[in-house]
């Protein structure tokens, strides 16, 4: 210990030495954690010096110049907000106005369920926070339940339910051979799950595959889930982003509501309003009646209070400013469609380029799939080659963020993909 002290060059007073009996850190045995697979990609991209580098990793929208976008409606909302309002604590359940408008998007502008006050809803920390709050709620109030998660899914889904200590199982979803939906196996898994299981469903634009059930398939899924008394929890992170029309993108949810399910929904404004870092979202749970909704909401708040007390106000203000002003809302809908259309255009371009290069493989899944991501079918080894040889960054499951594709880089990208797959 004396040597250590001498080496540190510091004279520690006697009492400190006594107190420092445990000379080594408490945390010596803490292992370095693995890098987050998705966010780690962007870190690596930023570190790369190559002028040709392409980031098709994280799912944040880019314009055709590869630049992040702040929507005009958001800028206008911010102008109106700045300097006018105080920064007082929101209620634990967040901004009432924001939540009201958000429910209309998911449940329908004139939803009877909203009028009947049957929906327990709180502002949440974007989609992640909404899922986590629901997972904690599920653990507290249905402690014997388990969650069924599609294969594959956004990696963080597993982390969320694990940290909430809800046992998880998986259900078939993606069909690698067809690069589409493994519908029969999915239905089988729904039927074989114990009654009253919880099922996590991606409402639209499945992440990471981009493969969505058709309307007919959704109806059948709804039927079987209902027959088994399962709970349907929707993660809707891309409403408006998939087809360009928020109403259309909510179709799966509306089908379930028609069929009488009491669903839960996690909604996010990260992508469709470009509010990523503001962490704005909403968790809602449809209940039997108003009394139940009040009870459930109060319990959700009890879970939020020891996590962050009350949610951040700024992003919520932006959302409620936009959605409660008819002109701003119209502008938002236009801007969402522009983003969705650009992505659809890039899908067409990427597929077209690959076919022009004479690729022996089929690339029709690029245009069949929908939303921000394309599950390319590339192997981890092929992805590594793309990164090491071509400075193209994506997650190793072969997921391409189409938002990162531009008219400027689509040929380069197609070329590189062709090189590693031919």
């Amino acid at each position: 210990m004396a040597i250590r002290r001498a080496m540190s060059g510091r004279i520690m007073d006697r009492t400190a030495v006594v107190g420092a009996r445990y000379m080594s850190s408490w945390w010596r045995s803490v292992q370095p954690a693995p890098k987050d697979p998705i966010l780690g990609v962007t870190e690596a991209f930023l570190a790369d010096q190559s002028p040709d580098k392409v980031n098709v990793g994280v799912g944040a929208y880019r314009d055709d110049n590869g630049k992040p976008v702040v929507l005009e409606c958001v800028r206008e909302a911010e102008r109106r907000i700045a300097g006018n309002l105080n920064m007082e604590y929101l209620p634990m359940g967040g901004s009432v106005k924001m939540v009201e408008e958000t429910l209309k998007l998911a449940y329908g502008e004139n939803s009877e369920l909203i009028k009947e006050k049957r929906i327990a809803a709180v502002q949440a920390l974007s989609g992640t926070g909404a899922c986590r709050l629901f997972a904690d709620f599920q653990k507290h109030f249905c402690p014997d339940s388990q969650i069924y998660i599609p294969v594959p899914t956004w990696a963080n889904h597993h982390n969320i339910w694990r940290d909430a200590q809800v046992p998880q199982k998986t259900y078939h979803y993606y069909h690698p051979e067809s690069k589409g939906l493994d519908f029969a196996a999915m239905i089988d898994d729904i039927k074989n799950a114990p009654n009253g299981s919880f099922f996590l469903l991606h409402a639209c634009a499945h992440n990471p595959t981009g493969v969505d059930p058709s309307e007919e398939q959704w109806r059948e899924i709804s039927h079987h889930i209902k027959a088994k008394g399962h709970f349907a929890f929707f993660d809707m992170a891309y409403q408006g982003f998939a087809s360009g029309d928020p109403e259309k993108d909510a179709k799966a949810i509306r089908i379930f509501l028609e069929d009488g399910h009491h669903i839960g929904i996690a909604q996010s404004y990260a992508k469709n309003m470009g509010l990523y870092g503001q962490r704005v979202g909403c968790l809602s749970v449809l209940c039997e009646d108003e009394k139940q909704a009040v009870a459930v909401k109060s319990q959700l708040q009890q879970l939020a209070r020891p996590m962050y007390s009350n949610p951040p106000v700024h992003g919520a203000l932006i959302v409620s400013t936009i959605l409660s002003d008819p002109d701003l809302k119209k502008q938002w809908l236009k801007e969402v469609k522009v983003m969705a259309d650009r992505i659809i255009g890039m899908r067409t371009a990427l597929r077209g380029n690959l076919e022009k290069l004479g690729s022996p493989l089929s690339w029709q899944h690029i245009t069949n799939q929908i939303g921000m991501f394309c599950y390319s079918g590339l192997t981890p080894e092929q992805v590594d080659r793309l990164t090491n040889e071509f400075h193209i960054y994506m997650t190793r499951n072969g997921r391409i963020s189409m938002a990162g594709v531009t008219t400027g880089n689509v040929k380069y990208l197609a070329n590189a993909i062709h090189e590693v797959t031919k």
Binding site: E88, R279, M307, V313
Partner: protein, 452 residues
């Protein structure tokens, strides 16, 4: 016919069985489904019971519930001394001038985007926050032994730190002072720690029960975590003196107790940022480890923006780096990455020396107004000859005064004088003004003389 429902291991049953089961299920009625439901709540799809039918309404949060009740009250003389949010002399919430300036700068900077922050938040924010609390010349910072992550205000910082401790620390018990902020026990319990208390407040003196504190910490198992309010103890306003802090430090280090500081009022207590950080810096100076939860809610008035930071001071740089990587694993499944707006305001202010100075001036003005309210209330009670020793009002420090009034007296004051405070007799001095002090003094006087 009683339907046979597939068990989880149905993969072992034949496909014929499965088809039969499927057929049976389609024929089953709603009531049969719910009768045979295995261990789980009834079905959700029949316009009938929800799986959450059994959920009962939670009680109102005691602190935030005060404001709810206040808002309902139609009386023109009502006074909200509940939640600890600063109010001006006019009783209005305050956005600091320097904060408004920072906001405008951010608004006008067209290059700013709203992209995801890294999991740990804004790097500059983390660095500046560490400097603010530990001091710019802190050896722990110089030696890269501190990891700081942006979190959702004080609450969020406490929660993230507690979750890390529940996973990685060998002792799962945290000792919290008696009394403490109402939300503390819940934060730690939900994070997976078990909560015990140590004596802190002496109701007879309305000051510290220092002997009790030393005894309780002295008998805590070695390695236990100890929650310490860095300054301006909430709810009592009673802080240890510097000598007492030194004694606490020595005791804790000799028992290898792990300090977890909650710093929600830096600058708000004395009006001086460095002075209010003394307790923490004392612990860091001895080379030992500690956790610090920092909040900008009060001292920068950023309440609803949820801006805070969790710092972990480690013995070595490589350890700090490993700790940070594990903190990220706590954060990612909780909220992925922290909100950008409030932290950007903080960075704008802290990194500009002029704006920093403006902030310290506005901060001191808030602290001074509170100190002045303490004096005025004390004088008003003396003038009325209110029985009892009210010197604790001016001895206690920070936003709150623990009046010593009991819940019956509090109830009386709410009923008769429309004064809202938490039932433990805690009043937020920030909610007082020169105009309203007389009304409060009248109410206290009445409560003390008419109710015991």
């Amino acid at each position: 016919m009683r339907p046979e429902f597939a068990s989880p291991s149905s993969s072992s049953s034949s496909s014929a069985d499965r088809r039969l089961n499927a057929l049976v299920r389609h024929l089953a009625t709603a009531s049969m489904v719910s009768q045979t439901a295995v261990a789980f709540s009834p079905t959700s799809g029949f316009h009938g019971d929800s799986v959450f039918s059994h959920v009962v309404r939670a009680p109102e949060d005691p602190i935030l519930g005060v404001t709810v009740a206040y808002n309902k009250d139609p009386s023109p003389v009502k006074l909200n001394l509940g939640v600890g949010a600063y109010r001006t002399e006019e009783g209005k919430p305050l956005v600091l001038i320097v904060v408004r300036k920072a906001e405008q700068m951010l608004l006008n900077d067209k290059s700013r985007v709203k992209e995801y922050l890294p999991i740990v938040g804004i790097a500059e924010f983390n660095k500046l926050s560490a400097k603010l609390i530990f001091g710019a010349d802190s050896p722990a910072i110089r030696e890269n032994r501190v990891t700081t992550v942006q979190c959702l205000s004080g609450t969020g910082s406490l929660r993230v730190g507690a979750e890390f401790l529940a996973r990685h620390y060998h002792q799962k018990t945290i000792y919290i002072p008696q009394p403490t902020w109402g939300n503390h026990p819940k934060v730690f319990t939900l994070a997976g720690l078990s909560v015990k208390t140590y004596r802190y407040y002496d109701p007879t003196t309305r000051g510290m029960n220092f002997q009790g504190l030393l005894e309780d910490l002295g008998s805590a198992p070695s390695g236990s975590i100890v929650l310490l309010h860095a300054c301006a103890h909430n709810p009592t306003g009673v802080d240890p003196t510097l000598q007492q802090w030194e004694q606490i430090r020595q005791l804790m280090r000799s028992k290898a107790l792990l300090p977890f500081f909650d710093s929600a009022y830096q600058g708000f207590a004395s009006g001086n940022l460095d002075e209010d950080a003394q307790s923490i810096r004392m612990f860091v100076a001895d080379g030992g480890e500690c956790f610090v939860a920092q909040s900008y809610a009060k001292n920068m008035g950023l309440y609803g923006e949820r801006v805070g930071a969790l710092s972990v001071v480690c013995r070595a740089a490589d350890v700090a780096s490993k700790v940070e990587s594990q903190l990220k694993l706590v954060i990612r499944p909780m909220f992925s990455n922290p909100p950008i707006h409030g932290a950007s305001i903080v960075v704008t202010i802290l990194k500009d020396s002029n704006m920093f100075n403006e902030w310290t001036i506005e901060l001191k003005a808030m602290a001074d107004r509170i100190i002045s309210m303490r004096k005025q209330l004390f004088d008003a009670l003396r003038a009325r000859g209110t029985p009892g020793d009210w010197s604790h009002i001016i001895k206690q420090i920070g936003m709150f005064t623990f009046t010593g009034l009991n819940s019956k007296q509090v109830e009386f004051m709410t009923r008769e004088y429309h004064i809202y405070m938490t039932s433990d007799g805690r009043i937020s001095m920030a909610g007082l003004s020169s105009k309203t002090v007389p009304h409060l003094a009248d109410a206290i006087h009445a409560a003390v003389t008419r109710m015991s």
